[in-house]
Symmetry: C2
Subunit: 299 residues, 2 copies
């Protein structure tokens, strides 16, 4: 249970900022006053317009409503919000176009990519670059009003080195070993225990697996590598070599600050090249804060 102080009275015409961080599994909202004070936060469902446009809109509105409630602001005041919204997939032509047709209820809505708001959040609203590695992988730099993106492109064609990619490589390595065409690996036992399936049954278990399902297996690559498994170590080395090359590209943009974020970034950091590792800075804030920086910059 969270106890809140009663909100101080506010002028009805005070400008309020809404930051939205939309993602494939959930959507975060944060409302701040012009002073920068955080008034409320809220959570919504999946918000990936590439997969589902209507669900994205529903999730944004749900998260916003929760944040308004959390801030003790009447829901009718949604039209006072200047929204900065970061969404995956809006870099894809067609998705952006459809999303812009939304008759939204906000005073203003500024739309950008999930990567842009993540980068703004990580660097306190200033220029910088981020390497992101979770279920997917991507590099993004924002320097002197120029955005540069590397990688991404989705699983299985792109997202190299990502959690989903690690999981796929793990399954592949187990199948090669099963056929006697690859080196024996601890991943065989680890994946069998996780999937409760061995050999051909593992193929059964991975039928119609989604990127998330593959990414869930990435933990075993780290576990096996920590335990000295050469196959798992090779997979992590391939992942980190690609991500380090991507980081080099990002740093060539002249980004003054650089961070590595995402679900498996901490575990992958020791595998990056020393040159890349030496350039890492701690992330300063969350993507929804970046979305608020963006709304302030645009309005």
């Amino acid at each position: 249970l969270r106890l809140k102080m009663p909100a101080p009275p506010r002028a009805d015409n005070e400008i309020l900022y809404l930051g939205i961080d939309g993602g494939g599994s959930k959507c975060r909202a944060q409302i701040v006053a012009a002073s920068g004070e955080t008034l409320g936060t809220g959570l919504g469902g999946p918000a990936n317009p590439f997969h589902n446009m209507q669900q994205t809109i529903d999730s944004i509105l749900a998260a916003t409503t929760h944040a308004l409630n959390d801030a003790n602001i009447p829901v009718d005041d949604i039209n006072r919000l200047i929204a900065g919204v970061g969404l995956a997939g809006v870099n894809v032509p067609g998705v952006l176009h459809k999303m812009k047709q939304w008759q939204h209820p906000f005073r203003e809505l500024f739309l950008t990519t999930d990567l842009h708001i993540a980068c703004l959040g990580v660097h306190g609203g200033k220029d910088g670059a981020v390497l992101v590695c979770g279920t997917g992988s991507c590099g993004y730099a924002y320097v002197q009003n120029v955005a540069t993106t590397f990688g991404g492109h989705g699983f299985p064609c792109g997202d190299k080195g990502s959690g989903a990619w690690l999981g796929l490589e793990a399954v592949r390595a187990v199948l090669l070993a099963f056929d006697g065409l690859g080196t024996a690996t601890q991943l065989t036992q680890l994946l069998a225990a996780d999937l409760k399936a061995e050999g051909l049954m593992m193929v059964d278990a991975m039928t119609s697996a989604k990127p998330n399902d593959y990414a869930r297996l990435a933990r075993w690559v780290f576990a096996a590598a920590d335990n000295g498994d050469h196959v798992a170590q090779g997979i992590l080395r391939d992942s980190a070599d690609y991500l380090s090359a991507l980081a080099d590209k990002l740093l060539q943009t002249g980004a003054p600050r650089f961070s590595f974020i995402g679900g498996i970034s901490a575990q992958l950091t020791p595998w990056l090249t020393p040159a890349v590792a030496s350039r890492l800075s701690e992330p300063l804030g969350q993507p929804e804060e970046g979305a608020i920086y963006f709304a302030r910059q645009q309005s």
Copy 2:
């Protein structure tokens, strides 16, 4: 229009054999007399019980009906047929179990894998081994009543070196080159022309692509490699190295005869290791003929 001589009168109790070659895109049926004479052939729709059990049964019955018509045999005589049926996916536990519950209309039904009937067809009903490479890839040997399978396992976890795998590697290579993280390749232009899409639009075009869609792109890997493209040549070398290793495994079973079949086998043959290439024999017959050998052997 196909004109047929009236069928010679046959004893009502004469044994007839039905060979069924079920595949992901179509199902072939062939009916032969006890003498070995081919009486009729027929085509049906997709027959992959791993994907769709009811459709598989429908396709087998459609192909059989066409073959009976083609042979001028009344459809009611379907219960005279001793059927050999080869299907993909029946090596997967669960699929085989379900398939065996079918209350089929034949006198007898003998079920085995698509690989087994392909191998029997290729080697005239005798022992041997086949390396198969089309949309998927697989190795199979049948020697002294022992079946051995290598590879397969489905795309994208398995089916290494296959058409789908080549297509995926081609898309990956183009995306790496696009980001300046991989060598420039002729595949960029070839895939852009084929997909009528460049860069990020290519990702759009490959959204929810199936193994068939990837395999369709394999032709461009061969085209670029023929034209001296090092990236495409590297992809083909990886494919052929894996397939050659798989062939070595097959030959270690003591298979007296060995063939390379499937949609891209002819184009890949020059890339196999000389040791493997020197062991290749011409395929003698089709999988549906193999299914009839199987029905005769079992009944």
